[in-house]
């Protein structure tokens, strides 16, 4: 229980934030933070626990975003229903891809994951009847969210997005906890540490990795659907581009991969730094990622969490 107390306190404190903070910009930062946390935690399941460094997760993010938006535009299905269809599509495609690419190891797997995301991006770019090609899709009128006949929100302020984002981030964190403590979590971590040793201990490699990927892709697609709804506009490069995947990976690396807290810390560092430097960097905001990742890899390859844990252990030993 002690593990969960700080998380619960943080969640309650965050839930109270809109009572004090009304500035749309501040809320916007929080929403970006929640999105970054959700994406980092999603990638962490397959990249962090299982050590499968996918640099193609933008595929699942984009499928979530496009799925929700296309259903909204074509069938007038509200995104919070449509996204589940999109998630299902993302999971099915992810598992199909995983079945093929998980045979590859190390750098070859990384390259294959990039190629898959590129293929899906190019398909989205060229399947104009469905996706409107490079011009992208602007959100149609989003219907108000009703619960039992009463309108909960008509999306005119950032507060509903704030709570939705917070809920999503907490959901992804909870999924990480559940996975980590389950049989699957043990299996994935064993695979990360030593694939052959894991195999010899009775772990079915492809099945375990695919289960992990399915969960990871589902969370990523959920975040994609949320981001699309919040931003209100999507285009192929923006959601399927390799930058999205790289941001997911780097959030985890900076915070500490394979830990539940790591992506949260990574997201805080990266979102705050990017925002602080946004004025001076403008579109070059990825510079922050580049510099951070070089520093982290060279000085603390296990991320902030690993670095601090190592310090604490040394202190305890001394």
């Amino acid at each position: 229980m002690r593990t969960f107390l700080p998380w619960a306190v943080a969640a309650v404190a965050l839930a109270l934030v809109p009572l004090w903070v009304q500035s749309p910009y501040a809320l916007h930062i929080f929403i970006l933070l929640f999105l970054a946390i959700a994406l980092g935690e999603s990638w962490n399941i397959i990249g962090g626990f299982a050590g499968q460094y996918s640099v193609g997760h933008s595929a699942w993010y984009g499928l979530g975003a496009y799925g929700a938006f296309i259903l909204l535009q074509r069938k007038a299905i509200a995104p919070w229903f449509g996204v589940w269809v999109a998630i299902a599509a993302a999971v099915i495609i992810a598992v199909a891809v995983g079945w093929i690419t998980f045979r590859l190891r190390g750098p070859y797997f990384v390259l294959a994951s990039i190629a898959v995301a590129e293929i899906i991006r190019l398909a989205a770019l060229n399947w104009k009847e469905l996706t409107n090609g490079a011009e992208g899709i602007l959100a149609a009128d989003v219907p108000p969210l009703r619960l039992g006949g009463t309108v909960i929100t008509d999306w005119n302020s950032k507060i509903p997005y704030f709570y939705m984002g917070l809920g999503m981030a907490l959901f992804c964190i909870a999924v990480n906890f559940l996975v980590k403590r389950s049989k699957l979590g043990y299996y994935l971590q064993a695979i990360r540490e030593d694939q052959d040793a894991a195999h010899s201990l009775g772990i079915p490699l492809t099945l375990s990795k695919n289960t992990g990927l399915a969960i990871s892709a589902a969370c990523t697609a959920l975040a994609g659907g949320f981001a699309a709804l919040y931003i209100g506009f999507i285009e192929p490069q923006g959601v399927f581009g390799i930058e999205v995947s790289i941001q997911m990976v780097l959030t985890c690396i900076i915070g500490g991969i394979g830990t539940v807290a790591g992506p949260v810390i990574g997201a805080v560092v990266v979102v705050l730094l990017s925002e602080a430097l946004r004025a001076s960097l403008s579109s070059a905001h990825l510079l922050v990622y580049g510099v951070l990742v070089i520093i982290v890899i060279l000085t603390m390859p296990d991320g902030f969490v690993g670095f601090i844990a190592h310090r604490l252990r040394r202190k305890a030993a001394a």
Binding site: E193, D194, D196, A198, L201, G202, I203, L205
Partner: protein, 243 residues
């Protein structure tokens, strides 16, 4: 009674290189079999063939009468045959307990139950006090014991030990020998690759000698130690020299 493990004419080639050629032997229930031979004799390759890491190029392998050629390693393990590694492979960033839990999950879906099994096995090898240490930080002697505990947690009927005493000092080797004899008392079948002949003679009921990929001799420890062919394999061809 059929043998627990039967290896029939197994050959393994890598490109043009022959790692094993027509190796046959069988292991009965409860026996400790020593597998010895000079460097490059193909002992580890044979282990890899038996445990499914690479299928044999020719020949057949039977476990409890079932043909297991081409079974993936995880399936072989679930059938009841587990192995350790010559170069120990701890799951470095997991704790000692979690390493063992991974093994125990082979036959249960419940993590708490797996923890119980794991703790029990850690007690057997004497690592229970180290349960919460990261496996990567253990000294070599304890890493070898952890491998043994992890393998035992999969509830095997047979274990294959690849140089569990390599790199250990005399006291640590003595402990491992004790563990092997202990496991034997419980009726588990074992195949042991080992260089230390003294340990082999003390623990094994039978010995198979490999040389350049082929079976050179098989017999009781006494027969093997006094076999001139074995001596030649270990000490080199004495032709021309007065030994």
């Amino acid at each position: 009674m059929t043998a627990l493990l039967e290896v029939r004419n197994v050959s393994r080639f890598f490109g043009g290189v022959t790692a094993n050629l027509d190796v046959s032997f069988s292991v009965d229930q409860g026996v400790v079999l020593g597998l010895i031979g000079p460097n490059g004799a193909g002992k580890t390759t044979l282990f890899n063939c038996i445990t499914g890491f690479y299928p044999p190029s020719r020949g057949e392998i039977f476990f409890e009468g079932q043909r297991i050629n081409g079974f993936p390693p995880d399936k072989v393990c679930r059938l009841g045959m587990a192995r350790t590694w010559q170069k120990v492979r701890p799951l470095a960033k997991l704790t000692v307990l979690d390493n063992t839990v991974v093994g125990a999950l082979c036959h249960t879906n419940s993590v708490p139950e797996a923890r119980q099994i794991a703790l029990e096995q850690l007690r057997v090898v004497g690592l229970e006090k180290r349960a919460n240490v990261l496996a990567g930080g253990l000294p070599i002697g304890e890493r070898k014991k952890l491998e043994l505990a992890r393998v035992m947690a999969t509830k095997p009927r047979m274990i294959l030990l690849d140089e569990v005493m390599g790199g250990l000092n005399a006291r640590e080797s003595e402990e491992i020998i004790g563990l092997i004899l202990d496991v034997k008392k419980r009726g588990l079948t074992q195949v042991v690759i080992e260089h230390d002949m003294k340990a082999i003679v003390r623990t094994c009921d039978r010995i198979v000698v490999l040389n350049s990929g082929e079976k050179l001799a098989e017999g009781s420890p006494q027969q093997i130690v006094n076999d001139p062919r074995v001596m030649a394999a270990y000490l080199g061809d004495s032709g021309g020299a007065k030994a």
